[in-house]
């Protein structure tokens, strides 16, 4: 693989992720609307939002870290996208395994947390405190799932894991081989997306969207971009771990969208949990299922 090739891949992968992510955001909002018997936003609504926010004439900054926070949040995801193999492109997935990916995915959160901290808004800090607690909650089933899958595949490399699942069709998919892990993963995925009932850290009515309270203009725009990446990442990771990745672009997109659709369909049916209830719930069921799943895998 020559340098040019990999450079192209590294450029294309985040771009694809962004475009796909835009549509995932749209899907999310449309599903929410349909569940509430509304029409929902038009096709390009996510793009309009981002364009408008970037085009705001006055932009309020609370200091350099406020800016850096957004840069890290977006940049971290851009980096993470290059570690997620898509059909035909592996990026640097083979140079950084699943663990690295999991930890690179924490960089945007930390960056955002820094930016929010600089804003000196107590609501923002409260939101971050809740978000980090939630992260503590959902990352545990997430790493259990990662462990189980990596053990099953004998590798922590996503490329290998996908290849192994594509050996003989659906029968070799992770969701068939390790259904418990797959379920725990889906649960964790839901919490990772931070949708109801796990959105205590946003809590618009109480803490004014928490971390986003001082984010306007391109800051909020950056977060919208990040949301695209986040949905894409969640979908693709799950697809790669349990649904055999993408044989081609079509199946890849179908699977990814389907994965993201599941938690969103559930999400708008719920009110929200308190922080400790989130922790309690996530540490109980998905962790238990995941551990049982690992017990099956390891025997």
């Amino acid at each position: 693989m020559d340098a040019l090739h990999i450079l192209i891949e590294l450029t294309l992968m985040p771009l694809v992720a962004f475009v796909v992510g835009l549509f995932m955001v749209l899907m999310m909002r449309r599903i929410a609307a349909r569940i509430q018997r509304r029409v929902g936003p038009p096709l390009l609504q996510p793009l309009y939002d981002i364009l408008k926010l970037y085009g705001k004439q006055t932009q309020i900054s609370h200091g350099i870290l406020h800016d850096i926070g957004i840069i890290m949040a977006v940049g971290g995801y851009i980096a993470a996208e290059t570690m997620l193999p898509v059909p035909g492109m592996n990026g640097i997935a083979d140079k950084a395994g699943l663990i690295t990916l999991a930890y690179v995915l924490m960089v945007p959160s930390l960056g955002l947390a820094l930016g929010v901290g600089q804003c000196a808004n107590p609501n923002g800090s409260i939101g971050i405190s809740r978000a980090l607690t939630a992260m503590l909650a959902y990352d545990i089933p997430f790493v259990i799932v990662i462990f189980g899958v990596a053990w099953q595949a004998g590798s922590n490399n996503l490329v290998d894991i996908i290849a192994l699942q594509q050996v003989d069709g659906i029968a070799s998919w992770g969701i068939v081989q390790t259904p418990l892990l797959a379920f725990a993963g889906l649960f964790a995925l839901h919490a990772i997306l931070g949708k109801h009932p796990f959105e205590i850290y946003i809590a618009p009515a109480e803490i004014a969207t928490g971390p986003m309270v001082e984010m306007g203009g391109k800051y909020l725009g950056g977060l919208f971009v990040m949301q695209c990446f986040q949905l894409y990442t969640a979908g693709v990771i799950y697809t790669s771990l349990f649904l055999g990745g993408g044989e081609n672009w079509l199946t890849f997109l179908v699977k990814s969208f389907a994965v993201v659709a599941v938690p969103i369909c559930i999400a708008y049916l719920f009110p929200r949990f308190r922080t400790e209830d989130v922790v309690r719930l996530v540490w109980k069921w998905p962790v238990m299922l995941g551990l049982i799943g690992i017990a099956f895998v390891m025997n």
């Binding site: 970037y54 609370h62 851009i78 930890y103 107590p122 503590l136 545990i140 259990i144």
Partner: protein, 623 residues
């Protein structure tokens, strides 16, 4: 004269200079140069890292029929490198304005210099120990040298130091008992003899010395449940002293454990050694002790409201990763554990330096009395930022690499629960380091801190140097891994197959050059995206949305106290007083015994039982 002699002499010279000139205003500068000279002396032995070789000292005694020898190998070299560097940077930090202020505030600068120099010397002696007796002697020297460092501040540090020395003496006596057991079998304290006898001992007989030695050395490592002393003792030591202790002091325990567990007993034996009446092995026990050492102190750190205490608690928790990696025994895990020693030293010292800089300027490390300092002390903030990313083990800093190695090893060894425990520790660390940086540097700047300035260069330079090291070794972990590979070859562990960017082997691949490169490319794109948006206008911190409320400078709205209320409500009660309870139970039990023995000496009419004894003896004779 061997290079080792030069090194020890230089270190001794440092102590002498500290004794003679420690109170002078230029004393710190001279000491900095002597530490640099020590580092140079150490570099003379840099060849050690490439081949499993040994440099002996011409210093040796024969006493009580035992010969005492000192020698350095790759392992000693590696630890000595960290020790001397920590001493160098701490002294550099002390040499300038910090020391002046410390003295002006009534601190004993001379004693601080002497104590750090003594610590370095005693650690170098310990690291060079060539047999069990010198190991013990070095161990005691290190213990008491750190006691000196801990106690010199007075005030609350005294209680902590006394607690430390009690634990340390307990540990030392356990070690002595373990050594006595080995000596009872061999009549010798040499490593080969001890290794021989430990190899030939049966399972039941191996347990006693193994347990005693691990307990004893574990005290210094602050392994659970012997960890209660450490945080307060380190945190209350004056700034650079705390950085020095936090960076290296408790790692001496790890060094000794490596000597015992790997070089003497052999890790293979530990892995096989079954726990009686159970189905787990000694390795599992150690690994779980390490895992709990990761989890509990980390979450205790989360509760701290003093920045130094928070860091010190993390120091304990991070020690768990080192041991956990090490007892996995494979190339990756042990490399991770060993590398974490270096990594931890670098970021921990940077963090303590940064906190000390804040204390220097604001006079407090109370996390509820600070905030917003990033606008006033950006360099300290930068050092802390790099430090906490390292401590939390996130890319691109070096802490990530060593933790990655440990995780990967746990995955390969098939230890899901330990893996989860390690990750829980990391997540807890992320939570608490965010609290640290948020409460100190982010958020609202208090009115009384409006006009403070960045710490002087003598203080920012060491922490920035460390930050650069943290980043560079994160970018190119191969720089450190080459030393690790040398150690692994020396002590008989499987050797890691490293490359400059990490490792590229069958067990897993990690190329930090790529990861960091892509991460920074991502940041670059993020920055381009960001700055292509509209121009920004900087606003005052009081221009903040508070539900339409008008904020004013006299209102404290920085969210700092009880930072993770939800989590604390849930898991707070689980670990709150459990270990303190254990300690106080021992203490009050001892107190009861003490009172009753005093009662014996005070109240019981002595003549009576002397008589009774005599009569009994006579009766015995008659019958």
């Amino acid at each position: 004269m061997t290079p080792l002699d030069y090194l020890l002499l230089l270190s001794l010279l440092t102590v002498v200079i500290a004794l003679v000139a420690g109170h002078r205003s230029m004393g710190g500068v001279w000491l900095t140069f002597t530490y640099a000279a020590q580092l140079g002396g150490l570099m003379l032995m840099a060849g050690l890292t490439n081949q499993p070789d040994v440099i002996t000292s011409s210093l040796s005694f024969t006493i009580l029929g035992q010969s005492l020898t000192w020698r350095y190998d790759a392992l000693s070299w590696y630890f000595a490198l960290i020790t001397i560097s920590a001493g160098l940077l701490s002294t550099m930090y002390t040499a300038g304005d910090w020391g002046e202020k410390f003295r002006a505030d009534g601190g004993n600068l001379w004693l601080l210099h002497v104590a750090i120099a003594l610590n370095v010397l005693s650690m170098l002696i310990l690291l060079g120990s060539g047999d069990l007796l010198t190991l013990f002697i070095g161990w005691e020297l290190v213990s008491w040298a750190s006691f000196l460092l801990m106690i010199l501040a007075g005030g609350p540090s005294i209680q902590a130091a006394i607690r430390y020395i009690t634990y340390a003496m307990g540990g030392a006596m356990a070690i002595l008992a373990g050594l006595a057991l080995i000596y009872g079998h061999t009549d010798s304290f040499t490593y080969p003899a001890a290794a021989n006898i430990l190899h030939s001992l049966s399972t039941a007989h191996l347990w006693a010395p193994l347990l005693l030695l691990t307990l004893g050395f574990g005290v210094k490592m602050a392994l659970l449940p012997l960890h209660l002393w450490q945080a307060a003792a380190y945190a209350h030591t004056p700034g650079p002293g705390a950085a020095f202790l936090g960076a290296i002091s408790s790692r001496m325990g790890l060094y000794a454990l490596i000597v015992v567990l790997i070089q003497l007993v052999g890790l293979v034996r530990v892995i096989e050694l079954p726990v009686l009446f159970s189905f787990i092995s000694a390795r599992d026990v150690l690994a779980w002790v390490a895992a709990f050492t990761i989890i509990f102190p980390t979450f205790t750190a989360l509760r701290q409201n003093d920045a130094r205490m928070l860091l010190a608690w993390h120091g304990i928790g991070q020690g768990g990763y080192m041991l956990l990696g090490l007892v996995m025994g494979d190339a990756l895990g042990s490399a991770g554990g060993l590398m974490h020693v270096f990594n931890h030293a670098t970021y921990q010292a940077a963090l303590f330096f940064s906190v000390a800089a804040v204390v220097y300027r604001t006079g407090t490390a109370d996390l509820n009395r600070l905030g917003g300092l990033v606008a006033r002390m950006p360099l300290s903030f930068l050092a802390m930022l790099v430090g906490i990313i390292g401590l939390a083990g996130l890319p691109p800093m070096n802490g990530f690499v060593s933790k990655w190695l440990v995780y990967r090893s746990l995955m390969l060894e098939g230890e899901p629960l330990l893996f989860v425990a390690a990750v829980v520790g990391t997540l807890g660390t992320i939570l608490s380091v965010y609290k640290l940086i948020h409460n100190m540097f982010l958020g609202q700047l208090r009115v009384e801190h409006e006009n403070i300035r960045e710490a002087p260069w003598s203080m920012t330079a060491p922490m920035l140097i460390l930050s650069v090291v943290v980043f560079v070794t994160g970018l190119m972990p191969g720089l450190v891994l080459q030393w690790i590979a040398g150690i692994q070859a020396t002590v008989g562990l499987p050797v890691i197959d490293y490359s400059l960017g990490g490792l590229d082997s069958a067990q897993g691949s990690l190329d930090m050059l790529w990861v960091v490169g892509v991460l920074f490319a991502g940041f670059g794109i993020g920055a381009v995206l960001f700055y292509s948006g509209g121009r920004t206008h900087r606003v005052h911190q009081l221009d903040n949305y508070a539900g339409g409320h008008f904020l004013s400078a006299d209102i404290r709205y920085h969210y700092s106290d009880n930072f993770y209320p939800g989590l604390m409500r849930l898991i707070g009660p689980l670990y709150r007083y459990s270990f303190a309870w254990l300690e106080s139970a021992v203490q009050s039990g001892l107190g009861l015994l003490s009172l009753s023995t005093q009662g014996f000496y005070r109240r019981v009419a002595p003549a009576n039982y002397a008589l009774v004894t005599a009569v009994l003896v006579l009766l015995w004779v008659m019958l």
